[in-house]
């Protein structure tokens, strides 16, 4: 008896608590924009950076008087870098917070969960950095403002060939669509151009020990190793590779872009290369102004995810302004018409497949810092 009274009390309190939160979110004086980001977990720096960038764009527009006579309200949900969570929070943003558009996710696996939900609800979604081609194939409400994996994988393969590396081993994170896609396109281009793949190994996000895979890779004596996964595992992979006496450089994609890469990887990352969307060393005034403003606010230089987060919000606001409304269909059409938008990460034009065509930069790790090497255009 005592127990059931307590239960009743607890559930009443819960209902009351939720009831109060529920009615706050649908407010007509603001434009609600939903953001799904991995603020914690395995790819936490991605979410935190893109969120910082997005928030900066929102603050700027609100300081300038808002949009369509209203203030922008950014509602951010953390998916904890967990598969499955991104879809749940996207549904919550659409049905409870009544958002006009969705921004996110950085990682392709999570954007693939969100895309069909946004499509069904008729809510435009812009992913800042998901490079897997399948993301925008979910439907005509799903956009991205970055290049895609066939391009990125090809860029790294071209780079390896230009370096004279004939034999490359591959290490893929099979839990990430992003990594699988990158590996696929790298391998295709590399083998078509007389390159040899000496070994293909895989692991899953969250793994810590890669000695078994690296020992197998070492036996093939490659000139370089293509590690298409995310920074957290790649840093540990490099550390363990050096311990096993593997000295060849690692190559990777924009998933390496995080301060953690060099913090954890340290000396092991020296002389490795990865492709990226933008370099904060770029001297152009647009980029340097952004870098300065970001540094003042967050005390660190922006990485590519921050720049892409910023651009994704800017493109959404630009489309809202042109559409003159936040209604789903009109907003979608306006986003689709984005042409030569001057973003931090380059001039952005969305093609008929809702992807952006942009050049990639190759970065290297030198003296513990990320340094610009070259730009490769599509």
């Amino acid at each position: 008896m005592k127990f059931s009274t307590r239960l009743l009390f607890a559930s009443t309190a819960l209902i009351a608590a939720f009831g109060v939160c529920g009615c706050k979110s649908s407010d007509d004086s603001t434009i609600n924009i939903g953001e799904v980001a991995s603020l914690s977990g395995g790819t936490a720096t991605f979410g935190q950076s893109s969120h910082n960038g997005t928030q900066m764009a929102v603050d700027e527009i609100n300081a300038a008087g808002g949009l369509l006579g209203k203030q922008i309200k950014l509602i951010t949900e953390d998916d904890q870098s967990k598969q499955g969570e991104a879809g749940t929070v996207a549904k919550k943003l659409i049905s409870r917070s009544k958002v006009s558009a969705l921004l996110g996710e950085v990682s392709s696996g999570k954007s693939l969960e969100m895309a069909p939900i946004a499509q069904t609800a008729g809510i435009p979604m812009i992913s800042p950095a998901s490079t897997n081609p399948k993301v925008t194939e979910a439907g005509d409400y799903v956009f991205r403002i970055c290049f895609i994996d066939p391009f990125q994988g090809t860029v790294m393969s071209k780079f390896a060939i230009s370096k004279g590396w004939k034999k490359v081993a591959i290490l893929t994170d099979t839990k990430q669509d992003y990594s699988v896609g990158l590996t696929q396109f790298f391998k295709k281009h590399f083998t078509e151009n007389q390159g040899t793949i000496t070994g293909e190994q895989s692991y899953g996000s969250g793994d810590k020990d890669f000695k078994a895979q690296l020992t197998a890779i070492k036996a093939g004596a490659p000139d370089a190793i293509f590690a298409s996964g995310y920074y957290n595992e790649v840093a540990l992979i490099a550390v363990q590779a050096r311990e096993l006496g593997i000295t060849v450089p690692f190559l990777g994609g924009d998933g390496w872009d995080s301060p953690s890469l060099t913090e954890v990887g340290g000396k092991a990352m020296e002389g490795c290369f990865f492709s990226n969307h933008f370099s904060n060393e770029d001297a152009s005034p647009v980029i340097q102004n952004f870098v300065k403003a970001y540094e003042v606010k967050h005390g660190a230089k922006p990485d590519a995810m921050a720049a892409l987060g910023y651009d994704s919000a800017k493109i959404l606001f630009d489309a809202m302004k042109r559409a003159g409304t936040t209604e789903g269909k009109a907003l979608r059409d306006a986003i689709a018409a984005t042409k030569d938008f001057p973003g931090i990460t380059g001039s952005i034009t969305l093609d008929e497949k809702r992807n952006a065509n942009k050049p990639a930069v190759i970065l290297t790790i030198k003296d513990g810092k990320v340094a610009y090497t070259e730009t490769i255009t599509p």
Partner: protein, 307 residues
């Protein structure tokens, strides 16, 4: 052949870290017949305490030779975590001592989540680099096999703690009390054993072992975050069950079996068409098979239920 030997070594070292964590699990279970799910989280706190210590006294530690500074960091973190383990027991488990065992089990899961998310609040969610308490050098020998200093330290520490634990349990008065409590708590009280003290001691010792495991694990894989304890905690739990839960040498054996199996599947599975993602699956299938044929684990005793 060299490659196979290297893989075997990789597996051996991987297994010894599981074994180290499993020791604490199995000891607490052996005495109290209760699985402390928060073990993996004390493991995580051990690594974070070491990081904090290193930040606080980094310049002083840098002056000392690394084995000395490693020992200082280990001992201080182990002491702090032992205190924490005792506090956890006092606050969360002791009030439930006379309740059904299931209540304590569920509470342990709650404590585990509480520690994880508090740590996330305190330390932030991003991975942090762990300082090189053990030099990152490889000891290579003529056969082309590589072993790192950290791996050797892990193996030595595991063996030392295994022996130490066995001495504590078998040769000391406290160990005698632990065994008495494990056999029959009521009878041990009648014989003048202060059960509360013994239980506190057991938790303290278990938490100290977890902290040592956390620091060595972080030295091998130098990226730490609040949820780092879940995966190794689970593996160690499986290792403990595999070896026969409650049995200390069994936990070590279980850890080694899981480590070697996983490594071999990762290293050779690709050629046989088993993706490396299934390495854990294979380890768990092994667990199921062993439990089917020997339900008490490899070294476990069969206990008759009294009716």
């Amino acid at each position: 052949m060299d490659q196979f030997l290297q893989q075997l070594l990789n597996g051996l070292f991987q297994g010894s870290i599981y074994a180290l964590i499993a020791l604490g699990y199995t000891m607490v279970y052996g005495v109290l017949r209760f699985i402390n799910f928060a073990h993996g989280d004390v493991f995580m706190l051990g690594a974070f305490t070491a990081l904090g210590l290193h930040k606080l006294m980094g310049p002083t530690l840098a002056l000392l030779p690394w084995p000395v500074s490693l020992l200082i960091v280990l001992l201080v973190s182990m002491t702090l975590c032992a205190a924490l383990g005792i506090i956890i027991e006092r606050l969360a488990y002791r009030p439930l001592r006379d309740r059904p065992r299931l209540n304590v089990l569920i509470t342990a899961i709650g404590v585990s989540l509480f520690i994880e998310y508090s740590a996330q609040l305190l330390f932030g969610a991003t991975q942090r680099p762990f300082p090189d308490l053990i030099p990152r050098t490889a000891i290579a020998n003529a056969g082309g096999l590589t072993i790192s200093v950290a791996q050797v330290i892990v193996l030595v520490t595991t063996l030392a703690l295994l022996a130490g634990l066995r001495i504590v349990v078998m040769k000391t008065r406290m160990g005698l009390a632990m065994r008495a409590l494990s056999l029959n708590p009521t009878a041990s009280t009648l014989m003048g054993v202060n059960n509360s003290v013994v239980i506190s001691f057991t938790f303290g010792l278990g938490s100290a072992l977890a902290a040592a495991g956390g620091i060595l694990y972080a030295s091998l894989y130098p990226s730490i975050e609040p949820f780092m304890g879940i995966q190794p905690g689970l593996k160690a739990f499986v290792a403990a069950v595999l070896g026969g839960i409650g049995n200390i040498p069994g936990a070590a054996l279980g850890g080694l079996i899981i480590g070697v199996t996983e490594t071999l599947v990762k290293g050779y599975g690709q050629e046989l068409g088993i993706p490396s993602g299934y390495s854990e699956g294979v380890a768990f299938v092994l667990l199921i098979l062993i439990l089917v044929f020997k339900p008490s684990g490899i070294l476990g005793r069969v206990e008759r239920e009294k009716v």
